[in-house]
């Protein structure tokens, strides 16, 4: 796992990363039924994963985040980020590839 932008946050980042990664692996493969059933199952599943994350990684995430937020301010990077955020690249996503694209 790579370094944090601030040396002081690196231990927190590593702990957070490894917690997140093991949660993420399960998150990427939701229960099979969820794919076929309707929106309700999807939302219930999402809710469950969010609770799981909170229980396992919530605390270390908040510690790491507050460390990085402070480091960004100290380095004056917060304004640079603010500007980039306003342009919001994900609002206008790239269209899906034209080739056959089966999700089900």
């Amino acid at each position: 796992m790579s370094q944090s932008l601030s040396e002081e946050c690196t231990p927190l980042k590593k702990e957070y990363d490894s917690c997140f990664n093991s949660w993420f692996e399960g998150y990427l493969e939701p229960a099979v039924e969820a794919g076929r059933a309707g929106q309700r199952t999807r939302e219930a599943n999402a809710q469950k994963k969010a609770e799981e994350f909170e229980a396992k990684c919530g605390k270390i995430w908040r510690q790491y985040k507050s460390c990085v937020t402070k480091a960004l301010k100290d380095k004056g990077l917060d304004t640079l980020l603010e500007q980039a955020r306003q342009e919001n690249p994900l609002v206008d996503p790239i269209p899906p590839p034209t080739s056959s694209n089966s999700n089900n």
Partner: protein, 173 residues
């Protein structure tokens, strides 16, 4: 503006390719990555995961580039991604935050599940320079050819991580 797009198919499932993509730093093909931080990350009510990462990359200026304009050859890069595990799709947009007048490279990558459990990666890049002095075109062309080279390396990095993931999954716990 210079535009480039390319598609590539992985034989692996969407979940494992996506995992490898998010785990790709550090790897020996990405020695230019100095730091990588998650700035914000949240799950939407419908279950997608939206993440912003801030990455510091080492760069180098071409030999023909005028001295003294870019004081340090490092660049902050912002990466915004959205992962939808139900629709099995990842969208990710990356761009540099500094030196943008000299050159801005915006890269969009998408990973989608396709037939037979394979994964399609679609990449688009836009290279824009506002430098002027008769160098705009040269800078954009340089940026584009470097992007193509880096793309090859970045794919090798993802493949390396993919191999490690496959091996670790084959081992009994």
């Amino acid at each position: 503006m210079r535009f480039f797009s390319q598609s590539y198919t992985y034989d692996d499932s969407w979940a494992i390719v996506t995992l490898a993509f998010f785990l790709r730093y550090p790897n020996p093909y990405a020695a230019h990555v100095i730091s990588c931080d998650v700035i914000s990350r949240e799950q939407t009510p419908s279950g997608s995961l939206v993440t912003t990462r801030l990455i510091l990359k080492k760069g180098s200026m071409p030999r023909w580039f005028p001295r003294g304009i870019v004081s340090r050859a490092e660049s902050w890069v912002i990466e915004e991604s959205e992962v939808d595990p139900f629709g099995k799709i990842v969208r990710c947009v990356t761009k540099n935050l500094d030196h943008v007048k000299v050159m801005q490279v915006e890269e969009s990558v998408q990973f989608a599940q396709i037939a037979e459990g394979k994964t399609l990666q679609h990449t688009e890049a836009r290279v824009v320079s506002k430098f002027g002095w008769g160098l705009t075109k040269k800078i954009e062309n340089h940026g584009l050819s470097r992007f193509k080279m880096n793309m090859q390396r970045s794919r090798e990095g993802v493949s390396l991580i993919l191999n490690l993931l496959r091996q670790s999954r084959l081992q009994p716990m």
